[in-house]
């Protein structure tokens, strides 16, 4: 019979000691972390006015809310009921089309602005520290202020309608895409860039022929992803009067037009699914083009 070879106890003891100490230290960290988490939760629970009694009392209302917004569809008059549920389908689709166009225009202009700024924010292309600093802080400002805050201010300046929504999304997209773009640019192969510089190319020519061919497919892929996000974002911009279907949605919710709420939500969720699916197909196509 074979036995497992072990170290003599004199050598084993210090090793075992080190192991126990390491495990104990890890456990102390774990308990400390959990303790901190619980303390923070209690503090936030107090500051956030968490009230479980209210929650339990309100929970039936949550369930009944979903029951209330369900359409009344009967088997015998199914199509008539369906028509009644989506009574304003044309109007809602027109508003949804507005929302999609707001997201599209915002994404497009944001992507163009982010494209122009990303090279200035990249450490490998912009030697001037102050220029780079300025570009990075601008992008950070654009993406940190929530787009709905921009929308509120733009509604004040430009009046109600889709334009404030477009601008708000464009600014936020500039910040988000500019950062992602510059991260891509910082990871390019620098040899083509050096070759072009050595051959006497200007800055613009270097970027055009040295960098852009390497990054364009990534840029398009990020832009498509951002479009998905912006479609979701644009549906709620209407809450503050910045155009699209959001205004209709918030007024139906506030005025308790239950069936309309579910109809609009169904249209929005369906569209979001559709857009996600289409952009995913496009992005896979793009990646396979890249792999040639």
């Amino acid at each position: 019979m074979r036995t497992v070879a072990t170290l003599p106890p004199a050598q084993l003891a210090p090793l075992a000691h080190v192991y126990t100490a390491a495990v104990a230290a890890k456990r102390r960290w774990m308990i400390g972390g959990i303790g901190l988490l619980i303390a923070l939760s209690l503090l936030s629970g107090w500051a956030g006015q968490v009230d479980l009694a209210k929650f339990w009392k309100g929970l039936p209302r949550f369930a009944s809310y979903f029951y209330d917004i369900l359409p009344r569809l009967r088997m015998e008059t199914f199509f008539a009921d369906l028509r009644e549920w989506f009574w304003n389908l044309d109007g809602w689709l027109a508003l949804l089309w507005d929302t999609l166009l707001i997201a599209y225009l915002g994404t497009l202009s944001g992507a163009v602005a982010g494209f122009l700024l990303c090279f200035l924010a990249s450490a490998n292309l912009t030697r001037s520290t102050s220029l780079r600093f300025a570009a990075r802080r601008t992008l950070e400002f654009c993406r940190t202020v929530p787009e709905i805050v921009f929308a509120l201010m733009f509604v004040y300046a430009f009046g109600f309608g889709p334009m404030p929504g477009v601008l708000a999304i464009a600014i936020h997209t500039t910040g988000a895409l500019g950062k992602q773009f510059s991260e891509v640019v910082e990871n390019v192969n620098m040899q083509p860039v050096e070759g072009l510089t050595a051959a006497g190319a200007t800055y613009v020519e270097t970027v055009r022929f040295g960098v852009v061919p390497q990054v364009v497919s990534n840029f398009v892929s990020y832009t498509l992803l951002r479009f998905e996000i912006n479609v979701r974002g644009a549906t709620v911009l209407g809450f503050v009067g910045a155009g699209g279907i959001g205004k209709e949605l918030i007024s139906t919710i506030r005025q308790f037009y239950y069936a309309d709420v579910s109809a609009i939500l169904v249209i929005i969720i369906g569209t979001v699914f559709l857009i996600d699916w289409l952009t995913e197909i496009l992005r896979h196509k793009l990646l396979s083009l890249d792999g040639r």
Partner: protein, 290 residues
Amino acid sequence: MNSPVSPLRARADADRANLKRRYPASFRAPLLARLLPPVTVALATALAVYALWRFGFSPEKFIDGLGKLGIVVGLMIPPSPGNQLWNYVGALGETLSIAFLGTLGAAILALPVSMLAAKNVVANRIIHIASRRFLDTIRGVDTLIWALIWINVVGLGPFAGILAILTSDFGTFGKLFSEAIEAADKKPVDGVLSAGGSDLQGFRFGVLPQVLPVLLSQVLYYFESNTRSATIIGIVGAGGIGLYLANEIAQAEWPQVAFLILMILVTVSTIDWLSGKIRFAVIGTQGRTA
């Protein structure tokens, strides 16, 4: 001495006309590939022009608005809290609480559901697809809409905000977690099972140690992004600093608006920095896996 042009290249150059005749495809990009960029750009521009036309865009109105915006920005300087500083600080505390509890609650609730939605844990196709669609539907509804629904249940205030963030992140986490669990290496599980462990032990000792750092990093990333969402959730009445922001904009108190925006900027950057540190300590890289 080497000539600058290799002999192979020289021979190919001499034979260029012949090569071109024999392999025409190699000398000319396919028509589709050549047409794709200009056609895409033309279509994108056409759609943009149509959208501008539909929105009744006019340069005069735009410049007019820009002028008004310039005046507003001028009025914002210097930013000042007025006499509301402590109200603002309290509201910021509410915002942070909303983000923290919402993210934590969503993560705790999403873990069991994400196992149902992961192919390698629950092999039943129907459960898998049903839980995926369920999570997608929750995700398809924006946080602000969830906030409006929860306000009906628990009334105005930050609690509704917590529940709204919790609900919408529950959908996101469920999806992200299940993807992380599916991407886990199967070999440790096989090891545990072959040593006589149960399925549950296989998950606990085979999968969980692999995915926990990934999940933690995703939770931290969403905590950052929820801090941002929690700043605006007050616009519909669900607590936090957004309520003040919307009110001050409606009353055109621009110095106070600027102050609130600065507060949001500082808070979000601090949380960004902090969670970056924690992520680095936990998984050893600063990489964002979301």
